[in-house]
């Protein structure tokens, strides 16, 4: 497939890995923010390809994983309301909440449907005028414009039974929160490629400026990621941290203005509750008053019981990069993709799922 296959060439990958090894003298630690990167890194054995001087950590870039238990409990409570249809992206339905999951709610009779796109959720609302259709809005800046577009479409077509529970989150503010906490010391960040298609490269500029941490935006194929690591190592070796784009076929410095304009039309910025991190100011998207009839938080009232975290689950630590899945006692024992305890094992972007899928007893210690 064009723009995919050519970035998977193993000969070029070995050449790039040699280049990184030649360049790298300092021991450094970099974090890939995005769960899509975590999966690609483990799938293609990139940690084994790069020199031992480059330590790689997984970060919080998995929207399902960072959804707080309290917010998930709210979604489950909404599912049990009469004449409500819950629409959601697939991974969410299997994540255990405090007392149930969307999947269990569905088994108990709630109408919970998996959709591929917000377009499908609006279509369900249009086809079911007697029901209230709620879309569980998770995702970062990549997905938020599509949710904004669904609200604008519902307004345009007067589909008043469509609602969004906005749990959308923003990337740069949580990077700031992680750097401020100082818990995990970083020299560089592999910045998320598809978030950056929307926001561009400018919003990361405070990171090299205020924290001295290198930032390189990466694509998702193995050569993209190796090129990104090469640029990070180069910046760190020179002691000149800055923001660079190593995914220039997809990302422009200014991002996608049209997508951001629609997102800003519908959403304002507020705080958000992140699993494992807590409340982060200015990191959440809230439906603006002008569109409040589509806001599930305004249209419905539910009072779920106080949240409870699963015992022994270290998803919170894994999300912050403070622990690897291997440091969790439940990993591959009580917690597996068939019977997940925490979201990082459920989501196709979760670090635990990646370690489980691509790790073998022999190579796991190298992770």
């Amino acid at each position: 497939m064009k723009f995919i296959d050519e970035y998977q060439d193993s000969k070029l990958a070995r050449g790039l890995a040699r280049k990184i090894a030649q360049r790298s003298t300092k021991t450094i630690r970099v974090m890939e923010f995005c769960g899509g990167h975590t999966h690609a890194i483990l799938r293609y054995g990139i940690r084994q390809l790069v020199p031992k001087t480059v330590e790689m950590k997984s970060g919080p870039g998995c929207p399902v994983c960072v959804t707080a238990t309290a917010d998930l409990d709210k979604a489950i409570a909404l599912a049990h309301l009469p004449d409500v249809v819950i629409t959601t992206f697939g991974d969410m339905i299997r994540v255990p909440g405090s007392y149930s999951s969307l999947q269990k709610a569905k088994a108990e009779g709630a109408d919970v449907r998996i959709v591929y796109s917000t377009i499908d959720a609006v279509g369900i609302a249009k086809a079911n005028p007697g029901k209230s259709v709620i879309f569980i809005g998770i995702g970062f800046e990549t997905t938020a414009p599509t949710i904004a577009a669904s609200i604008l479409k519902a307004q345009q077509e007067k589909i008043e039974n469509f609602h969004v529970l906005s749990l959308n989150k923003l990337t740069p503010p949580v990077m700031k929160a992680l750097l401020d906490s100082g818990e995990v010391k970083l020299d560089g960040i592999v910045c998320p490629g598809h978030v950056s298609v929307i926001i561009g490269s400018h919003p990361y500029e405070f990171i090299p400026r205020d924290y001295g941490v290198a930032c390189v935006i990466s694509g998702f194929e193995p050569l993209d990621i190796l090129l990104c690591i090469d640029k990070l190592v180069e910046q760190i070796e020179k002691g000149e941290p800055k923001v660079e784009i190593a995914y220039s076929r997809g990302v422009k410095p200014e991002g996608n203005r049209k997508a951001r304009q629609l997102m800003e039309e519908v959403f304002g910025i507020g705080e958000a509750n992140w699993r494992g991190i807590g409340i982060v100011p200015h990191s959440g998207l809230k439906v603006r008053g002008k569109y409040e009839r589509f806001d599930a938080d305004k249209a419905f009232s539910v009072s779920p019981k106080p949240p409870r975290e699963p015992k022994g689950c270290r998803c919170g630590d894994v999300i912050r990069g403070a622990a690897t899945p291997l440091e969790c006692k439940l990993f591959r024992k009580a917690c597996t993709p068939e019977s997940p305890v925490g979201p990082c094992m459920v989501s196709s972007e979760g670090a635990c799922a990646a370690y489980y899928q691509y790790g073998t007893t022999e190579n796991l210690q190298d992770f």
């Binding site: 064009k2 414009p145 997809g250």
Partner: protein, 75 residues
């Protein structure tokens, strides 16, 4: 979640486009990429084209990659 794949635009119809990848066709929204033309590759994310792929930049990156790989062989 932030997964996006490059698909080729086959035809345009208002703010939607017919796209193709590996023989699979899909109708996608192009509300975020009104500049997209037939023959362009766009990044498809949950039913929406979120960006148009810059083919010249793609070529440049490949050239750079080949250069780096060949240089590291010499040393």
């Amino acid at each position: 979640m932030c997964l996006a794949v490059p698909v080729r635009i086959v035809s345009l119809d208002g703010d939607e486009a017919e796209t193709e990848i590996a023989g699979v066709r899909r109708r996608v929204s192009i509300v975020f990429t009104p500049e997209a033309k037939v023959g362009d590759y766009v990044l498809l994310h949950t039913g929406y084209a979120i960006g148009v792929i810059d083919e010249a930049e793609a070529e440049e990156t490949l050239k750079l990659l080949e250069e780096i790989a060949s240089l590291s062989e010499v040393h």
